[in-house]
Amino acid sequence: MIDKTVATAADAVAQIYDGATVMIGGFGSAGQPAELIDALIAQGARELTIVNNNAGNGDTGLAALLKARRVKKMICSFPRQSDSYEFDALYRAGEIELELVPQGNLACRIQAAGSGLGAVFTPTGYGTLLAEGKETREINGKHYVLEYPISADFALIKAQHGDRWGNLVYRKTARNFGPIMAAAAKVTIAQVSEIVPLGALDPEQVVTPGIFVQQLVAV
């Protein structure tokens, strides 16, 4: 019998190693896997590269991970927010590296990784600072920039319900990056509000099929 559930968030993140690239779901705090991040802070892995839309809000979740100085590099689209002071301080002190990626390129580069593409020509960012030094090409009269996949060693995501095969459904706009990050990471760890019996999720309504999820934990 295959059962991907683990007992605690600490068990789930135990395998994350120093220097790993970790995708973290969420858009602001919606969909942020707060309990998994707390467990990661307690676990102690450092020199992490984090992929997230933002760079932490307030002093919890991703912001707390930053504050604990576990993050070497952020790959994100929107670090600067009214309450992104933890990131702001590290960035201004030169203590964190930033790769700024337009949000749709972040999405499609994550999708490219998950779907095995080698690179994609995207129109987003053409002619801007964020495409400087990148290969460009005109295709049918429109300009594109060549962008490479963003993959990860681990993805930490938040879903609403999951079953022991790792099938997931999400809640409202907490869905955001969860499904595409799940496909792009070698090991995807999902925190869910409830682990439901196999068969409780309607097969028409599963958003992330279990093939993309390696571990899940109810929090």
Partner: protein
């Protein structure tokens, strides 16, 4: 004498140009306010990049849901008939040309339609771009709404943007507190001005040559 539009008037003016049935993405800030002025009799589909279509107004106090937010991370609601989706699908809508109209703010707009709205280029600024570049290339029509000049009185509509670009030649129409201006292959064409302003006055506050349509005074 003339009176610039206030923010609500400007939002209301943009709202008038959004036809029923349009799929619309309203950027963070002033553009978000446009939602308040859409004709409630018209069905207009508001898209938010974080994965919802059919976005409704702010919830009643006490009914906020931290998992139902918009791109500006404000609490919102979902209309009957709206739906949720993931970021890949959301940006398929944006990049793939499925959004009819997006409305963005601006630091600068150039006469050729270049838009700068994400980065002042200041050395100590922390850059943040979000979905603006995707909307700039992907929406069928990019509207910009902005004050006509900066707080220091400098033109925001310029010959060439000095700030880092968001998109190249992407802007279709500019709504300022003083005028409505189309970006055309022949240059900037003023379609409307606030009452009492002269063509010369508007040109003096604009950093690029303006043409004026016949209905502007």
């Amino acid at each position: 004498m003339y009176q610039p539009l206030n923010r609500d008037q400007l939002a209301a003016r943009v709202a008038r140009d959004i036809p029923e049935g349009s799929y619309v993405n309203l950027g963070i800030g002033l553009p978000t306010r446009i939602a308040n002025f859409l004709d409630p009799e018209k069905e207009i589909f508001l898209h938010s990049e974080n994965g919802l279509l059919g976005m409704g107004p702010a919830p009643a106090p006490g009914e906020e849901d931290p998992e139902l937010i918009n791109a500006g991370k404000e609490f919102v609601t979902l209309l009957t008939g709206g739906c949720y989706f993931h970021h890949g699908d959301s940006f398929t809508m944006m990049r793939g040309g499925h959004i009819d109209i997006c409305v963005l703010g601006a630091f600068q707009i150039a006469a050729n339609g270049d838009l700068a709205n994400w980065h002042t280029g200041a050395a100590d600024a922390i850059p943040a771009v979000g979905g603006a570049m995707d909307l700039a290339v992907g929406a069928r029509k990019v509207f910009v709404t902005t004050d006509h000049v900066t707080k220091k009185g400098e033109p925001k509509i310029v010959e060439r943007c000095s700030y880092p670009l968001t998109g190249v030649g992407c802007v279709a129409r500019i709504y300022t507190d003083l005028a409505v201006i189309d970006v055309t292959p022949q240059g900037l064409l003023v379609q409307e001005m606030v009452p009492g302003i002269s063509r010369e006055q508007l040109q003096a506050m604009t950093g690029a040559a303006l043409q004026f349509s016949a209905n502007c005074q």
